[in-house]
Subunit: 719 residues, 2 copies
Amino acid sequence: MNEENKGRLTLPTDVDMVEETIRLKELLQADAFRDCDGTQMPKELLNQNVKIYATYYTTRNDNAWAMKNPEEIQQEYLISDPITARSNTLSIKLMQGFHTEQLKVNTIDSPKRWWEVIDRTTGKVLPSEQWEYDAASGEVTLQSIPYHVYTVSFLAFLIWDPVHMYNSITNDWKSSPHQLTYDVRQPKTQKYVKEKLKKWCEENPHVDVVRFTTFFHQFTLTFDKQKREKYVEWFGYSASVSPYILEQFEKWAGYTFRPEFIVDQGYHNSTFRVPSKEFLDFIEFQQIEVSKLAKELVDIVHSYNKEAMMFLGDHWIGTEPFGKYFANIGLDAVVGSVGDGVTLRMISDIQGVTYTEGRLLPYFFPDVFKEGGDPIGEAKDNWIKARRAILRSPLDRIGYGGYLKLAKEWPGFIEEIQKVVDEFRQIHENTQGTKAYTAPFKVGILNCWGNLRRWMANQVHHALWYREIYSYVGVIECLSGMPLDVEFITFEEIKKGISPEMKVIINVGDAYTSWSGGDNWKDEKVVCAIRQFVDNGGGFIGVGEPSACQYEGQFFQLRDVLGVDREMGFSISTDKYNEMDKNHFILEDIVGEINFGEGKSRIYAYGENYQILNMDGKYSRLVVNEYGKGRSVYFSGLPYSPQNCRILLRAIYYAAHEEKEMKKFYVSNVDTEVSAYEKTGRIAVINNCNAPRQTELYIHGERKEYLSMCPMEMRWLSF
Amino acid sequence: MNEENKGRLTLPTDVDMVEETIRLKELLQADAFRDCDGTQMPKELLNQNVKIYATYYTTRNDNAWAMKNPEEIQQEYLISDPITARSNTLSIKLMQGFHTEQLKVNTIDSPKRWWEVIDRTTGKVLPSEQWEYDAASGEVTLQSIPYHVYTVSFLAFLIWDPVHMYNSITNDWKSSPHQLTYDVRQPKTQKYVKEKLKKWCEENPHVDVVRFTTFFHQFTLTFDKQKREKYVEWFGYSASVSPYILEQFEKWAGYTFRPEFIVDQGYHNSTFRVPSKEFLDFIEFQQIEVSKLAKELVDIVHSYNKEAMMFLGDHWIGTEPFGKYFANIGLDAVVGSVGDGVTLRMISDIQGVTYTEGRLLPYFFPDVFKEGGDPIGEAKDNWIKARRAILRSPLDRIGYGGYLKLAKEWPGFIEEIQKVVDEFRQIHENTQGTKAYTAPFKVGILNCWGNLRRWMANQVHHALWYREIYSYVGVIECLSGMPLDVEFITFEEIKKGISPEMKVIINVGDAYTSWSGGDNWKDEKVVCAIRQFVDNGGGFIGVGEPSACQYEGQFFQLRDVLGVDREMGFSISTDKYNEMDKNHFILEDIVGEINFGEGKSRIYAYGENYQILNMDGKYSRLVVNEYGKGRSVYFSGLPYSPQNCRILLRAIYYAAHEEKEMKKFYVSNVDTEVSAYEKTGRIAVINNCNAPRQTELYIHGERKEYLSMCPMEMRWLSF
């Protein structure tokens, strides 16, 4: 066995798995063990010459403290169901639809100060003398106008930690008591938690890595009466509030806080909403405060010669790794769950830590390791997507989570992850920490969030498939494994000037979402900046409803650049004579039908410089356009698939006017990809498909090899 | 032959068809002859004891007059292509994209007074000193901001009548000179046209019916460089303008006219646009003036003991039959083209005339009567749709148009129309002018246009199929043959109060169009009126994007009433647990799949009182909801089909709480329908399908007959 072919791997364990853990450690050459929510580190494993990770909960797992300090339990802004009045008074039951074991109305802090009753028919806030809360009935009674709709925004305590609740439900934990939360930002708890961490470090000398899960504020996750998920927003700030924090925010921001800044008409500032100035202020404030306090905990860990690792998830609100303040925390490492290429890049692209670790799927939980489940298939799919992203931006380590017992007992599963671990180590061996070749220009994803949500664009919940987004996330997923430097940029940045290194700007999403941009497209500075950029030779790629915002006779505000607009009903009377011509550089490799997913319909070509490459009846799905010296490409949708990766790659090189550069390192078969490491002289060809493939390898524009690839194969060659 | 079985039929003729016309007159028992655009009435037919119709053009067919009075040629407001500036000056070629044989820039009236240059990036009008028009180059040169988009709104003369141009192109008339237009509203032409009409009446004593085609203003119809249709709007007012008229309008309205009132960002006030106050004012003004002047021409015709008939089409702008001033014209008759049930009701529902006549399809033109054409199939389809509407609201007469020669020479075609004519006469014979049974409540179609566009809702061009609308027009088409009194009502009327006779309100269309209603749904009076109506027992039916307008956390503003909303991306984080239950009154007769057409996607059920009857994946397509004492039904789309007629019929009876009334007169097979005439004791069962059908007939709730129907059969029974 090669010297390199060991380490870089973390295994979960449990008290009943001592023997097995040692056997698997040897088999897989693991160099770290970890515990999980629901498992414990057996003492017998502490002398195994591996690093020991300990999951550390800063905000839960101490019900005694929480019960003693009920006013410092974490809080969340909730909005009641919108209720239609039928007379001049209306009573709204606040907890209707929520699970009362998870959330409890906060009656400690003054409702009149912190709540808001809104007439949603007019958008007006009710004066506080027009409503009363009755704690006994749990109802707000208000003076209503008949047939107007009202909501109550209110504060509730998180009396069951959402992740503990999720894990309890998923694993059917009957006996474990509900873990209450406490808010580390508040003075008593803050002091207590710091002391407790010190004490814990002292009592756990064998622990090498404190794995914070995570710091202080849980992403938004609420459950309904039937304990089903009611609302989930992986980026949500709704549960990061308390009067204590909000009063500080008011001082910092210089204006009065309103609950509406958080409940946002009931959309809870989903990342799909164009963020309000006030919400962006709140994010900024929270990130400043959370990073400061997190640093204090990390410093404590360091003072005991332990490493501090952060889990990217759970209570990660305020610590977003691509935020401005993250590096100040001083963490040694970040670990996160890898659902696909995009979520891998979320971790591997993080700056300001010594190393990154990816927890591969599947998690060893009984929701997958059950009759009818397919953990091996999941592991394969996951690895195909992760591998191509690792080749572009490597993680330093990988690992698994959950109950080792489940994995061990599933026939063939350990063999499957053995292959994964082996390929992962091959990548490090061949690349020696050098970067893969990337095209000599940058690509920018333009949306309202920019780098703060790097590799997080167009997503709802971490790596979950949603019908509404897969045709857009596909673009980001394709990019996660491409030989391209990708930046995520905001409209504010665009207005300040576009970097000369940037050759292609991409805008992807549904109209009026933060991803498309909404009213930003009415901003003359935005449209002029992009028109000038393209006119002077830049490339623009739009997917779905790019630059969409109904205004002054256009729906796509960059209709002139894109060569397409969307028929919204107002211009049906205008005849369109769209005809298809498939003959184009972008489609040269493409044989089969193109999958546009749930792409937008009613797209028509516009102007005189377009070429339509794909149509749906009389409407278009793929259109290129010349604009001055520049070019644009429009896709109605682009779900992830190996073929769509290729189409997008070609579209980017075309838009950048860099067609000649494309075959510097290239493989002919669309199911295969190539990564070249010029410093080590090594090249990897991967087959992204679970079937054999033939492919030609081009180096510096010339055909060098004809390769027969096994299913899922990764082959290394020298050049 | 029954005495009734004659008459009520108009045939076209031509100079080369004397013998044939006489033969067909006898065969079909026609009682009127007509000429057409491109044909002439032969003298030999004037003694055939039939009424003679003469097509009369008030605005064309007199190039000598037009050329002598170029300033009184008709005008149209056009908008240039939107052009993006790349520097500080920009030149826009006005006629780019238009056909210069049809339209010519008006340089007689001051451009600075009547034109408008708009920066479409900011929406601001350019001061007139910042642009100049150069007649030689045909360009407006303006001071621009780089990368802003500009348009020029300008006046052009209609130097080729659009319908004459259309007919010339369609029939490949090479030799006939382009017919110029002239504007009868202007003083010199008005005087001339009146005198000419008198003279014409004197010179044509044999003419019984003057068929005006039509009065003064052509609907909007422009052609592009290649003589292809560029823009068509059957309801368009863009070609009804001139400085002479606009100065009168300014006095009447009390405010300054702006070209933008007409060009409307380039959408030219398509009926799909929520009409501006100014455009509604302009319509009102034009209808007042046109009806006054039309009356003068009708009076002249009457003074010669001739009848005045109006063709519903061509130059019909200002004479819309459901407008407030139409009856004042004093016409004897209206004739119009019947494309389907909806367009039939457009004619047969007209009040204020003595009789109505429908020109059935196909028109005897070479675009249908050609190799590969199917005139018999078109005649059958047309009749199936027309017949069910005639049974509800009969026309007095039918007729055909075009070249009789083409019809005569097509094998089997005359036999087909013989059947049609025979069935048409049977209807009159059996109904004796009495009205068919209708349900004991009214149904209202709610949109921005109301009764002014009765049976014209959701349509682009007269009876033409468009992919964007067929899923909505289907609702109106279904209604055109149903046993229901249908009203078309506006939001303004809703706010004033809903008639107690009205039991169901229907709102159909795409978000932000005039048919759905756009910002009207932010009006608290509108939503409260409908909520109260339904709460008190009314029914509401929404199709597509009813009550849609993103505002205060809702997309469908009547989400509470409808029990559905549409996912626009902002609430993907909110879990939806929608489950289907098909067991419902509405679907009792329905066996096969339901066709929702190009219905809206991403519809989810909302609230606690819904039942989902049809789903598309996790989203819904057909949902019912209970709201107080009332009910609602939501369809994602409803194209016309016999099955969808039945589903809609049941939905309406359900929404109205009138399920028990439904089987007063009823047939079981969805491809069949029944009409009952209580005063004559006759009942018609029709088979709307070109195949045999078995159906059970219910009268007063009881099964009375089991009928075996031939393809397309109409059977009359007594009860």
